[in-house]
Symmetry: D2
Subunit: 313 residues, 4 copies
């Protein structure tokens, strides 16, 4: 299905927003450039971190188009096509390809209550409609469904999907998936969505990682990747440990929703580093402006040797 195996660090790029809540194309172009020049191996636009669920079709197309233009073919652009069920996802996949996506990424059906056979058929119908390769996205905390190893291998062998982004948090399952994939001839490209176990997952055989935190410290994840490719596992562990501590920025916004404190903290940390002009979130999520929170995030950035540009005293 896809001529070339994708490997490495593929950040799920955040979506900068302007004051009206629309996609800020200029900022998104700049951010894409920053990530590519820092050595990423691909970009995943319209992920959960990219606030895909909050964007209507116009904004989604604008985001894909912007990233694809900015990438200019230097790295593949994967686009999230997250929608309720296959009829709609198929349409989204066509739109994404038309906007320049190299591949699309989608989940099991939302809202519907389906069984394994139906979920497999869901992916088959999307693949049939899509003109670009399809990656499966396993994120049970949002979708309710855990994709089974058997389904993933079967769909890959059929040529329906070419890879998987695993954000299930089930690491034992992830290792079993890696082993099962290898035994089946490695039909799947296997990516972890975890920020803090990238070294171990690559050691186990993952093809790469899709860490949201790479928006905040792309150089760190690139160094981590290089250490794993050099089989310098001690160096990889040290880099990963530093990033794991940095990931604590997502625990600084108390009493707020996961989207507000997770994606929200990424955006704040990026604004402090002047990587994006605004930390605005999509309605109804509100950006945090609490100075104490900002200060704690700035401290964690400095602790990780990242420059906060003096925005916070």
């Amino acid at each position: 299905m896809n001529s070339q195996r994708l490997r490495g660090i593929i950040p799920p790029i955040v979506t900068p927003l302007d004051d009206d809540g629309h996609v800020d194309a200029a900022a998104l172009t700049q951010l894409t450039e920053h990530l590519i020049s820092s050595g990423v191996h691909g970009i995943f636009v319209l992920s959960s971190t990219g606030e895909v669920a909050y964007l209507d079709d116009t904004e989604r197309m604008r985001a894909i188009d912007t990233v694809a233009q900015a990438a200019g073919g230097r790295v593949p652009v994967l686009a999230g096509v997250i929608d309720l069920t296959c009829a709609r996802v198929a349409t989204q996949a066509k739109l994404a390809a038309a906007c320049g996506a190299s591949a699309v990424v989608t989940t099991a059906p939302l809202y519907a209550l389906n069984d394994t056979a139906e979920i497999e058929d869901h992916f088959r119908r999307i693949a049939e409609a899509s003109t670009v390769p399809v990656y499966a996205y396993d994120v049970p905390v949002r979708v309710r469904t855990k994709l089974s190893i058997e389904s993933l291998i079967r769909l890959a062998l059929e040529g329906v999907i070419c890879g998987i982004k695993d954000s299930s948090g089930d690491d034992v399952g992830f290792r079993r998936l890696i082993l099962a994939n290898k035994e089946a001839g490695s039909p799947l490209q296997v990516f972890t969505g975890h920020e803090v176990l990238v070294d171990t997952m690559i050691h186990l055989g993952a093809d790469g990682a899709v860490p949201g935190l790479a928006n905040v410290d792309v150089a760190g994840y690139r160094r981590l990747w290089d250490a794993t490719q050099a089989k310098d596992w001690d160096q990889a562990r040290l880099e990963q440990a530093r990033l794991a501590t940095l990931f604590e920025i997502t625990s600084q916004i108390d009493g707020r929703s996961p989207d507000a404190s997770g994606v929200g903290s990424f955006k704040i940390a990026m604004r402090l580093q002047r990587l994006i002009p605004s930390a605005r979130m999509s309605a109804p999520v509100q950006e945090t402006t609490d100075v104490e929170v900002l200060t704690r995030i700035a401290k964690l950035l400095r602790h990780a040797d990242l420059d906060c540009g003096g925005l916070i005293p």
Copy 2:
């Protein structure tokens, strides 16, 4: 917000499909007529039972338009506007009103991970955009989120929502909601989505019910309603017990998804009664054609004194 309080039986109408999987407008017109002439107090089109998640915008508009035309103002037509987050739901609400919906029904955000304040704001934004009243739909098994009593009362007092369809399965919570609503001056119309506790919920003070099984036996639910209004609780309990046994049709399709065995069994039972011409389901859900299953469903229909038209020996 709404001039008149809605009370009674409001079936979540199934969506008949033709051989190509499109909305069968003729069958839907006929079914609407059947329900209205059997005495329902409203119709809820594009509910979970109506396979809303599987239909794209074209099919959704066709379904609303058909039911609204067929109803011709005799009873209110509530339309489900189920989508990811408020930007999209607001658009769906406008389309639904344009197609003739008297009100719209929607859930907390899907896929997004929001907190209570964000969920309330989500409803406020939808209400602001909608030209017709908004009902909240609480169905945690599909949405992951349980709407809180405090949020519901607050949103009702603000005029954001006019009612709630509760399919949460949390009956203690439902009773507390009824009490809290009464104490607040009854700003909410409160409907239960349960098939088998309608008598007790109306006894407790619910304004009515939205039972999927009313597609299969609308006369039974109308008699149940009449018994509750006459305060003949023993008669109501007997009618409810008969319907609870009939509800066992949803447990006849073993090893299949909830949608296949739930909505699927309603459609089969309706086809056996010649209420719809086909039991076809939306892809990727497959209609069950197993003769043993059909026979068991036919038996349960006969046991409930419903005519199966001799389709099954």
Copy 3:
């Protein structure tokens, strides 16, 4: 197995503790007398409300012995025999019978991870060892396991269990259980553990209720029972609504464990009414002494027309 069908209100009696954390036998005797003279139909000692999990064997035997002595055969005394698996539960059942229990009440295995067949066998082994009838106790929030309707009916028809206390919160399931039990010839005595749906559950055919709140307002639950037996469902609903509001005492202790705020608030409300001398809880649970909480509980007691003896201004 049991000569006589038990019906009515069977409070899960709280266990008063002395300053050293031991069972206060004098207070427990007095409380038993209060409940019986107020018209209860049985007493359930060593329930979750009775802090069974916190008491070692010596204290458990003391509690059963005290209640059985105080009851003096006027009403049946059911004893909770909550332990890990059947080997231990069987021993507990023998001890309970030796201390005067008329019947024992137990759950599916704890800690062990068993399937349906194993759980049924678990109950069979306990029944074989027990010299008194066995009730099943369905409380998934504590046990993790939901007992299936099929298992319960099968075990009842086999004579293994004589009844069920349902604290599962699954009211649709409870109604189906009632219908299935009736169809099977009513081998099970069916009791609800819910405080706030007693009227509806008895209307549906439950044999009675085991409400923890009856420790706080036994007269109210007795009036509620009498109204249901007189088929005065409006009166029952009013009494139940008053008790449902009173049940809000369990939501007054913010940020504490369910045991601290649930059982803890019962004990506080009982002490305020001078039904027990102390609201002390078993270690490691701490009694709440926050005056604001006590005041809110006292207000709810007065609102329910219960006398707080002037303990709180």
Copy 4:
């Protein structure tokens, strides 16, 4: 609290049973000898794998006494003291120490519904009563409660617990625990209970592993440990991959409980290797005798280069 840091492979030893379901002391002695002579660094008796929940006090004491005698001080013997709440666990801890246990291992309260402060106090009371060091055991699938990193570090710094066996399956949490522990001066000995991520967890800084599968292939886990200590991560991964495939024995007993298919498959694989004379399980769990299952397990043993002694053709 403990003079010496424990590191390495500590198998949760299975409990061989005789035909009457009692602990088979001779077989347990032999198995202990086998594990120690194969180079384990400690033995954990009465774990979940050791069927602790099914054994009454007499059998528990017999098991501890047997293993402690057989170990003869060559390696530490940790004993599981699993019971409902602190009153009972404290007693179990005293009995375990009296039987020769070097340390005890226990969980958050069972059945009780406690908050973080109460759970911490639970451990404090157990430690106060115990004459030997206390390890915490985090196994939410059985206990319902996940122990927090903050609690574990605090209890370790207070000297209440000396280590943790993590069977939570939350590997991100486990990495954060390792980092937090290091930052706090490593007051905790940190062990993973996972069979298939031992290499990565030790790479991350875990002190060792408590893998049930080590009962089946102790030599493999010892080689895995040695590879990690030599920092030969490629060799460690290969050994771990072989063990991960072997772990598939736990997926061969379809449609049975986790205890029957998990511990049950370990016992079968051990009997096939003549490490124990019988695969009998504690009531109500039944040993699997299905020849197809045995054959599949034997195949997996052979695939892992383990000798099945010709018991299965």
